[in-house]
Symmetry: C2
Subunit: 327 residues, 2 copies
């Protein structure tokens, strides 16, 4: 409840929205109980019986170093929340807090799935046909071909489970430089995926068709994925700032830019996929969804919905079985 | 004259535009002389005395493999053009042809600059403050820290020479994953650049601020640069297609989208930096500018202007001196 740029100011309205939308959902709210209750009591009467507040004294700051957060013995809301998942009191953890700390403490508390080299961060990106999943987004800077295949397994399991796609199309993000297409790892991963009966491998995609929707899952190392995702945010922000500048131009430009705004803001909202859906940590023995730090109540409740659908469909077991079969 | 998607249909109007704009410019037009003359005679009367046509029998196809193009003994326009630069008859080569072939034959004919590990491909990208240079864009899939420093030297020399910036701000493209910022090469390159008196190193930039204009030169390996550039094209194309879909929606949406179009198409045109300015091959003993394959006459003549300003300012010598000083 304490994470992100706004804490309970955003998370409390978000959980009320989620509880109202999902009548079977129960939530354990982890954080400073005074702050939570102060915002809760006013508005939560209808859903109050499906809420438990779990107090934690301390909070991990958004800029705290993950290694420091991991070593610290403090009673933080993030660690308490992950512990609830570990002991089976909760089926998923949703947080808008410090990403690095959530990955570090999450890996430590929940442990990675058997046979997995390393967990990955995955997010939905909008496409012309709906959305695709892109992973890894920064948990693994350099990845072997085997790691990339494991990402493919996890991403495809997610698409099957959440979107009900029987044979998700999996692609590798690559560059179109003639002949020497990609680095050794990507080329070797392509061979592994081609041979795997578990994966519906559809080939390479390049950055310029990333948003066309030709694949359900797009796999790359964490460095490349992070650059691709952040660059797309950078372009959206560039376009949006350029349009706003027009508002300071001639009267004609002002009017045109002002008229264009409603059309555009809907599109830009789609592009900020992370704030809409949250990123998923794949490969842990427990579900962890990371909402964007500056998420509003609508976005944070989307992250809760995502965690709910992941918890409902036995994603961890699917991944587990497929990882074993890969070996 | 024969390269790109349109050949002389675009290149002839482009060279007339360039010759008209630059009264001191002389051009050697390399390609099929019948095709060139057929388009030239109608419109080139005023600038005809500054044109020489250099016939070449054959053409390298846009989809030809670079290695095959390199080995071939055919009299192609691309090789003839590069030979003119090598023998000093021309000061720069501009082509809209096959990128891989141009790099392969360019490296073979012109040779790389002394002390340089490998040439790089560089392009201007639009920013909120003007433009920055991004390199490498795909010539080098994996790069050592030393290569990244050499890219920094070459990019900074370009910014100094073409844009007259005394101490261009150089940044490394990196990811914001806490603590383990980037891979080993990027971290080592940061140290090299910090220590170098030749470089005004300003630190890391992430994808989301790539278009803010906080650096004049942004350095990365060719895999990352290619993904970043193509992803930004992908986002622009996604937004533009989304807006076009609105044109098929309700009357209100149609009107808004139609009104928004002029504001947007100007911005999208800026984003397609490659078609505006062309990409530059840095590190060869001779100037090579690669125009985008689908460039129109305006874009192709921009590439000619870029080659002209590079040739006028002794870029190769600047790079040469700085590379020696780096060692």
């Amino acid at each position: 409840m304490m994470g992100g740029d706004y804490g309970p100011r955003v998370t409390v309205p978000a959980i009320i929205k989620s509880l109202t939308a999902h009548p079977d959902l129960k939530l354990i709210l982890v954080g400073n109980q005074e702050q939570i209750h102060a915002r809760l009591d006013a508005s939560a009467s209808g859903v109050r019986n499906r809420i438990v507040v779990h107090h934690a004294d301390d909070v991990i700051a958004m800029d705290e170093k993950p290694s420091a957060a991991l070593r610290s013995k403090r009673d933080t809301s993030m660690r308490a929340c992950l512990n609830l998942v570990k002991e089976g009191s909760a089926q998923a953890c949703v947080s808008a807090g410090n990403t690095g700390a959530l990955m570090a403490i999450g890996s430590h508390v929940l442990r990675k799935q058997q046979g997995l080299i390393r967990p990955a961060i995955c997010s939905a990106i909008p496409t012309l046909k709906g959305h695709s999943y892109l992973l890894d987004l920064g948990a693994n800077i350099e990845c072997s071909a085997e790691q990339l295949s494991q990402f493919a397994i996890m991403g495809a399991s997610l698409a099957s489970a959440v979107d009900n796609i029987k044979q998700p199309r999996v692609a590798l993000l690559n560059i179109g430089q003639e002949e020497i297409k990609g680095n050794a790892q990507v080329k070797e991963a392509a061979q592994l995926l081609q041979q795997s009966p578990l994966i519906n491998y559809v080939g390479y995609v390049e950055g310029d068709v990333l948003f066309e929707g030709d694949a359900d899952v797009i796999v790359c190392d964490g460095f490349t994925g992070n650059v691709a995702l952040k660059t797309s945010e950078g372009v959206a922000s560039f376009i949006s700032k350029k349009i706003k500048r027009q508002l300071r131009g001639s009267v004609q430009k002002k009017v045109l830019a002002w008229l264009a705004m409603p059309v555009l803001s809907a599109i830009f909202k789609q592009l900020d996929a992370r704030s809409l859906n949250g990123a998923v940590f794949l490969g842990l023995q427990g579900i962890v969804v990371k909402s964007h730090g500056n998420a509003d109540a609508y976005s944070f409740s989307s992250a809760i919905s995502l965690a709910l659908s992941m918890a409902s469909c036995g994603l961890a077991d699917t991944i587990d079985n497929r990882l074993q079969a890969l070996e």
